[in-house]
Amino acid sequence: MREFDLEVDSVRDLNAALHALTEEDRDRDFLVCHPNGRHSVAVGAMLEADIRIEGHVGYYCAGMNQRARVQVRGNVGPGVAENMMSGMVQVTGNASQYAGASGRGGLLVIEGDASSRCGISMKGVNIVVRGSVGHMSAFMAQAGALVVCGDAGQHLGDSIYEARLYVRGTVRSLGADCVEKDMTDEHVKELSGLLLAAGIEADAREFRRYGSARRLYNFNIDHVDEY
């Protein structure tokens, strides 16, 4: 276990150590203490590693994560796991804006609530939120799945492409071109798998599915009111 106390060590020390990991390294467990809201904690990890962060972090924690498992035992600032590629990022508390923005792969789990624009521009990442998400979540979401066990704020899935949205609670409103869709067996299976991977016990059949009506895929003057 390698320990980084961010009251003594710098974020640079931590990230440099993560980037210096090689496939041959056996010790791949990292403990990060006293993050105290610092930004860019554990960004750009490339290899399998277990990184536990004890406390609250600022912006972009676990940004562009590849293969590592990152657990934040606290709340996270804006852009947690932005553009993550693979691996898993788990937040035991709440997440600020843009959680999982433009993520391309892997699993992001938020045990609390996520603020506005959760999953904005997501490109393949799966995001599971045990609580609720704020307005404009999944804006321009391209691929992957956003699972919300609580409620969703206004304009969910605005200008969505091919991402799949599952919400158990209420949806304040749907954004442009986002519609409710049938929950087929295939979707129940996918959702059950995501909930299981996230460690959340919930019945997939209680969720509703939302996705793109695909009316804005090619410009059509008769749909101009939706832009």
Binding site: N83, S121, M140, V224
Partner: protein, 439 residues
């Protein structure tokens, strides 16, 4: 028809092109989306002249006395700043907007000339990485194709906040250009219009930008320079905020800058010309005492060695070319005229990059059109053009008595028009008058 000619005079408010646009809008019900840059005339580098040396200062011997052209970019924070042999770089143009042959041509030519080329929306292709010795990787609002592996392969990063052709606006790659490969790179279905967002998904203001830049530095272990590119609008503030956010290099793109596809109303009516933008950017850097510490790259309508010399004389460290590079590859060349006609245009007027049917094989993904631009031919043309720009630049610098092109200065120039004098803050030719200037 009346015998009195006055009765047939056209309206100044509704000239031909305005009438035609209203007719088109009424027929189609959508604004015009097109490629290329502004077509209207704006005050520009043509409105400045150099004062060659004579008695008061002596020139350097052409071809004999050295006139340096090298530039180092990213000296502020990066462990590995870029060392370029010439101060002319290739601007970001996406694979998708451009075909693979055009991208490869640019990469090969830039490598041969010791300069950099730049990716675009959609990410980095294997071909352009291998063709370009020095490659700048753009981090754009859409984040199409963005990934940390390519981030680490890049020689510099460019956070694109805006573009001169459309500051404040996103992009649009129309469905007809979205092949399987382009769609795959952008994680979107084939054939749909691909909108590029106008704002980054995970930051909004200058304070966020500072944190974002820091994250990118952390991911790349502080190795590579980080540029911030802005469209020229409130240039003084934007440049200062980019510096405050930690940029190593600021790129200012004037309104003459081109685009693959955006609304004509944007191209022609939003942003300020490159000429005042350079001067404002330099003043902003000087005010912070960061001129030459944070390097300035200027783009937007740079066409000739004279334009490069004027931008450098106003205080830029380097320029970037996009549209002119495409012209060097053959854009608007009078060949394949039937294909221009099929697009409803002719050589010299074409701005149909958005259609994907580029007659000269540059902005297309269609193999039969791309064949018209073999990479070795494109690279040769581009290399010749860059070499010509450098020779022209050195010719002017030597004539002004400068042993390095960065020694050119505003004092070497005069303006031909009152507007240009005011915008560039150089005197109107034959006077010592700089409109609007107070000591």
């Amino acid at each position: 028809m009346s015998v009195y000619k006055r009765a047939q005079r056209p309206s100044a408010t509704f000239p031909d092109h305005v009438l035609s646009e209203i007719h088109r809008a009424a027929d189609q019900g959508i604004y015009e989306i097109r490629g290329f840059g502004a077509k209207r005339r704006v005050p520009g580098f043509d409105d400045l002249l150099f004062l060659g040396a004579s008695v008061s200062r002596y020139p350097l011997e052409g071809y004999r006395e050295a006139c340096g052209t090298d530039v180092v970019l990213g000296t502020r924070h990066a462990k590995n700043p870029l060392r370029l042999k010439i101060p002319i770089t290739i601007a970001g143009m996406s694979f998708g907007a451009l075909g693979a042959n055009a991208k490869e041509s640019l990469g090969r030519a830039a490598t041969a000339m010791g300069t950099s080329t730049t990716t675009g929306d959609g990410g980095m292709t294997v071909e352009e990485r291998s063709a370009s010795e020095t490659l700048v990787y753009q981090v754009l609002p859409s984040r199409y194709g963005l990934n940390p592996d390519d981030l680490r392969k890049a020689d510099a990063l460019e956070v694109v906040v805006g573009q001169g052709a459309k500051p404040g606006g996103g992009g649009m790659l129309l469905g007809q250009k979205i092949t399987e490969r382009v769609a795959g790179m952008r994680t979107l279905p084939e054939g749909i219009d691909q909108r590029s967002a106008c704002r980054h998904p995970d930051w909004t203001g200058p304070d966020d930008l500072e944190i974002k830049i820091n994250e990118l530095r952390e991911i790349t272990d502080w190795r590579v320079p980080i540029y911030v590119k802005v469209g020229a609008t409130r240039t003084r503030y934007d440049v200062q905020l980019a510096v405050k956010a930690g940029a190593d290099v600021v790129v200012v793109d004037g309104m003459q800058g081109g685009t693959a596809a955006t609304q004509d109303v944007f191209i022609e009516h939003v942003g300020i010309p490159t000429l005042p933008a350079v001067r404002l950017a330099v003043e902003a850097l000087k005010e912070l005492r960061m001129h030459r510490k944070v390097q300035l790259i200027v783009s937007g309508g740079i066409r000739s060695g004279a334009d490069v010399a004027k931008a450098l004389a106003l205080g830029a460290d380097a320029v970037s070319i996009g549209s002119a590079a495409m012209v060097a590859l053959g854009c608007n060349k009078p060949v394949y005229e039937d294909d221009y006609a099929r697009l409803g245009t002719e050589p010299g007027c074409c701005h149909h990059c958005h259609t994907g049917a580029c007659p000269v094989g540059i902005t297309t993904q269609r193999p039969e059109l791309e064949e018209r631009l073999p990479p070795e031919v494109g690279a040769r043309r581009m290399r010749n053009y860059l070499a010509t720009l450098v020779l022209e630049l050195q010719t002017i610098a030597r004539a002004c008595g400068k042993s390095h092109v960065h020694n050119l200065e505003p004092e070497d120039m005069v303006a031909l028009t009152v507007e240009a004098a005011a915008m560039a803050r150089v005197p109107l030719a034959g006077t010592d008058w700089i409109p609007g200037w107070r000591e």
